[in-house]
Structures are given as structure tokens and as C-alpha cells.
Symmetry: C2
């Protein structure tokens, strides 16, 4: 996430509380009710708190556009149901993902503890956030968490020319009792789309291998990738296989939309597409080493960190998280101006 | 798997039945009982049938070495138990993986169908095969399958210098009723170790990015990577994160060995290390689209294949599988000679 971590050129500093309040005002002025606005503002604030600009306030204009266009339901009332002993389903009611995830969380955790492993199928949502907030929450409850979601067709399959896969992130979280969980959350594209968008906004180039232009040629120009070009999967055919897996899990498995199907019904408002999310929760206390699993994992982390130059995933985010409560969050003045306008309604 | 698909220089042709019989004779002459020898020979034969040289007869000398050294138990009697409603555990009794996987398969399938999702923790085995035979078997039973296993520390973590991860493959299979399942099985290293070994044997180079030499420098020389060098994860920090995830799932989660722990107790006989395997089985009929999931997935595959240059994973293996029953399997004369010697006992 290289470009996402470069500070904006002309920053405005907000406290974390101000971030939350501003996000909430924008969303409610665009038609969200208090509960849906609060849930989205929570994930946007978590991203700003961790200095993940591409999932922070940067996303609010897109959320608001989808409320105003009527694509997303700002008054969604997601409902959870148990459709098998180890399977929880949430009907997202056409709203944004965060509230639907909250509604599914407790029954998923309960099912995983009771059964050893459980899944969560979330349908009819609009996901526009990182996945680490939801896997981290599972790890904080002592469970191993997986999450997957698709998007719009931005990424070519290995060997192909036509975008078919979303950036299709996969997140994995490992519980570390008494510590921040180990969490990774990575797009199956080389770079997250939000980071390419931020590179374009800030006039940065992107690394070769990020994507191709309209002629299928490699380019470092974010605009050429975003406007008619395509993103590339990470690691060639292996990342492509993972992108396909994410489509199958969040499309065919749970009866929701593939990225190309989401595009066919999207109104192009710039906000998040329709789709689903698939999660797994695994209880390490039910897998054969109830007493030892946590200490055992620490041996791996210690060994990894003995190698100079190696960091655990999310360590930078967790370090940032300790700074922003006092430093505040920095956003570009232009974004702040846009948000001030949205907050006026 | 580029080098694995180059035909040997001086081939001997065997029928598929001869492959199985030869593997069985070698294993039994080295101390395996009929049941364990048959199970290993099945996976070796499946690999030769699909022209996956690196998991075919090429592995037999290593299996035999671990029988003769006493590391692996050729008379293992793996036992399955249900340790939670959705969790099956198999005690592998120190044997090779194939028989333990067979013992766990039926209870895993039963649990996944009853609960919607289930996991399988296999402990105290020696895994020396591909993972696709076990995920494919789940898909043939109508389930989505995942499998993970670790190895010995061959791969550096992103940014590091010291090998810590195994090549740590992950396999995923999707059921296609009436067709061969969609299966991928990919190392979290850039190249599978067996393919590097075959490149050394056959005098080929490997692509840049496969690994580094003892000085940490990039190299295309398979021997430099295998002898004191290290392999690299695919896709940089993202493949490294997946390798770490595999260690956590097959080490800490199920109470078995990390790759570096397996090395500490390994006798260096060249055969497979001690360790565990973790699998997941997910019933698509219990996830919200019981009637439509299979046809829905075909829409994705069709769309992918409309893009010239795109293949589905495993398509080459499945095509090979139709040829070898008449063409037979080709192995190098030197390997055949080695195996003939092992079969004599």
C-alpha cells in the first residue's frame, strides 16, 4: 500500500472524534439513518485512525453518491438467520456492509465456538471498506478469521486481456490474547484500487506491474489504468487463482453477484457495487491444542522477527493507531472542502 | 510449474498400472505394509497420470528413505475422531499423509454436509505429495475444499534473509457436477520445490525471482537455491503473508509443527518432514443458493474462457489425464534404474 501511506500535500488535521462526526454528518445529510451512518463512520474512522487513507474519509463521497442515487439503502435493517448449524446468513437489505457485518458477528462467533468452525454469508450489501475491521473483530473474540469480497471487474485473469475479477481482497486474522491480533488484508490485484486512485489524485506514479493501459501495455500512470485500462493480479497466475476463488466464494457459493454481474446492474455513481461477503471463523480452542495454541503461535512470530527486515502484517497500522489519538488524522484540504459541502446536505 | 512439464531426456515409458505396481513394490520393499504402500502409490500414480513429474515416481526414493531411516511409520494405523461438531481430527500415527487423509475424508464430508462447513486437522504425518488429490476428492463429493500443509524452512519471509517458511502449498477445489472439478494447488513460494529439484536434475535453469543463493543474491541456478540458498515467496509480501497463514493453520491451530520445528527434529534422510495438514470442506447446498450454485459458477468459468489466453487451473492436468491411460507415463531412465533397485529391497 505504498501510495496510501504518503501524507497529503496540503493537509487539514482532524481529531479522531472529528473524523467520526464529519463522516456521520455527510452520510446522514445524504440520506442514511443514524444507525447506518454510525456503522459506516466507525469503519471510516478506524481506517483514518490507522492512517489507511484509501479506506478513510476518502471513501465518504462515494458512500454519499450511492445514497443519493438510490443504489444503496441508507435505512437498511440487516437480518441474521441460521441456515445450517455452522452457517449464518445475513440479508443486508441493500445497505452498506458495516451494519450487516455487525449483525452477523455475534451469531457467527457463537456458531464457531459451539461447532468449532462456522461461516457467514452476507448478501445484498455494498462493500466499500477494508476487510481487516471484521477479521480483527473475530480475532479479538479469540477466533481465527477469514473474509473475502468481490467488487467490479477491474483485474484481468492471468494471460487475459479483459477485466473480469474485482480487486477481490482476502483478509486473515490470528488472535493473540493480550496483544493486537495479527491481521493481513490484501487485494488479489497487485495494488488496491483505492491506492491507485490516491496516486492519481496526488500526482504519483504506480509501480510497473500494477496494471496496463487501454492497449494492454504495462504502465506506471494511474489514470491510464483507471480509465479504460486494467489492473493485474499479484504474483501472476497464483494471484489470479486467488481472485477467482474470491469470486466463487462471494458469488456462486453464497448466491450473490460476481464482479461482472455487479457491473451489469451498477448505475456508475462511483460508490460501492452490489455484492456479497463470505467469512469463516475457526475456534483454535476446538482444534486439538486448546491450551497451547496461542503461545505456540508466538514462537513463529518471534522467529520471524529475529530476521532483520521482517515485519508482521498490520504492525504499521497498529503503530499508527497509537499516534493518531494525539496527532489526529490528516486529510487533503480539497477532500475536507468536499466533505464540508456534503455535510451541509 | 514450468520445469515439471518438460519431458525427461531419456524416457522410459510405463503404463499407469505399472507405475502403481512399481511404486507399491518399492514402498513395501522399504518397510511399508500393503495398505500404506497402496495409499502412497495411489497419489504417486495420480500425479504420473496427470503428468506432474514432481509429485510422481520422482518422490518414491524420498518415501523409501524415510521408511528405511525409521522416520516414517510404514505400518501406520491413522484414527479419526470428532473433536467438535464441525471438527474432525486424524491421528496419523507417524505415517505418510495419504492413508491419514483417506481415513479423515468420510467423516469430514459427513460433518460438512450435516453442519454446512467442517474442518479436518491431521496430525503426525509426513506429507510429500500434491494437495490437489484431497481437495479434488471433496469437490467430487459436491463440496468446496481447502487444504494447507507446511514443510521444511525453504522460503524467506518478505524482506528477510533467513528461510523460515515451507513452500506451504494451498489448494482450493470447486465442484462442477458432471465435470472435472476446478482445482488449484499452488506453493506460496514462487516455484514448487519439486520443480526446482527437477530443473537441477535435468540441467535447466529456473526463472529469476525463484530464489537466492547463499549470499542472498538472485539466481537462476537451481543448485544454488537448493544448496544453502533460499526460495522466495510469490508476489512479495502477499505470498509471504499466505505462507505465514499456512504455518499458523497447520502448526499452531491444530497443534502440530511449524516448518522450523519440523527441521529441528528431521533426520535429513531426504524424505518428507513431520507435520500436519489442515483442511476445510464447505457445502454449497447449505449456503443460500442450493438450487443455483453450480450453474452460477459455470457463468464465471464461461466468461473467463471467452478471454483468449485464459485457462482454468488444472485444465492441463485434466487433459493429460485423458492421454496417459493410452500413452503411458514417461520417467527418466536413471529414475527407473533407481526404482528397480529399490523394488529389489
Amino acid at each position: 500500500m505504498p501510495s496510501g501511506h504518503q501524507p497529503p500535500k496540503d493537509p487539514i488535521t482532524l481529531t479522531i472524534e472529528e473524523v467520526h462526526a464529519l463522516a456521520t454528518r455527510c452520510l446522514m445529510a445524504s440520506g442514511a439513518d443514524a444507525e447506518n451512518a454510525r456503522a459506516v463512520a466507525d469503519t471510516v474512522t478506524a481506517a483514518e485512525r490507522d492512517i489507511c487513507a484509501s479506506h478513510g474519509l476518502f471513501r465518504i463521497p462515494g458512500y454519499c453518491a450511492s445514497l443519493k442515487s438510490g443504489k444503496a439503502n441508507g435505512n437498511a435493517r440487516p437480518m441474521a438467520s441460521q441456515i445450517a448449524p455452522s452457517v449464518v446468513r445475513v440479508d443486508g437489505d441493500g445497505g452498506f456492509a458495516p451494519l450487516a457485518i455487525e449483525v452477523g458477528r455475534a451469531p457467527l462467533i457463537e456458531a464457531a465456538r459451539a461447532q468449532g468452525v462456522a461461516s457467514l454469508a452476507i448478501n445484498d450489501i455494498h462493500h466499500f471498506a477494508a476487510l481487516w475491521p471484521e477479521t480483527q473483530a473475530l480475532a479479538e473474540a479469540g477466533l481465527v478469521g477469514f473474509a473475502f469480497t468481490a467488487a467490479l471487474p477491474y483485474v484481468v485473469s492471468a494471460g487475459g486481456r479483459t477485466p473480469i475479477f474485482g480487486t477481490n481482497p482476502m483478509s486473515f486474522a490470528w488472535p493473540r490474547p493480550g496483544k493486537d491480533p495479527m491481521v493481513f488484508d490484501q487485494a488479489s490485484s497487485t495494488l488496491a484500487r483505492g491506492d491507485i486512485q490516491i496516486a492519481r489524485r496526488d500526482g504519483h506514479s504506480v509501480p510497473l506491474g500494477t496494471g496496463v493501459d487501454t492497449d494492454g501495455k504495462d504502465t506506471t500512470d494511474p489514470a491510464a489504468i483507471l480509465d479504460g485500462g486494467a489492473q493485474l493480479p499479484f504474483g501472476g497466475y497464483k494471484g489470479s487463482a486467488i481472485a477467482m476463488m474470491v469470486e466463487l466464494l462471494t458469488g456462486a457459493l453464497i448466491g450473490d453477484k460476481f464482479s461482472f454481474e455487479a457491473q451489469a446492474v451498477d448505475n456508475g455513481d462511483g460508490g460501492p457495487p452490489k455484492g456479497g461477503e463470505f467469512m469463516l471463523a475457526i475456534d483454535p480452542a476446538r482444534h486439538g491444542d486448546a491450551e497451547g495454541w496461542a503461545a505456540h503461535a508466538e514462537l513463529l512470530f518471534e522467529r520471524m522477527l529475529q530476521d532483520e527486515g521482517v515485519r508482521l502484517p498490520a504492525d504499521r497500522r497498529h503503530a499508527n493507531r497509537k499516534l493518531t489519538p494525539t496527532q489526529g488524522a490528516q486529510i487533503p484540504a480539497s477532500l475536507h472542502e468536499t466533505l464540508a459541502g456534503l455535510a451541509e446536505g
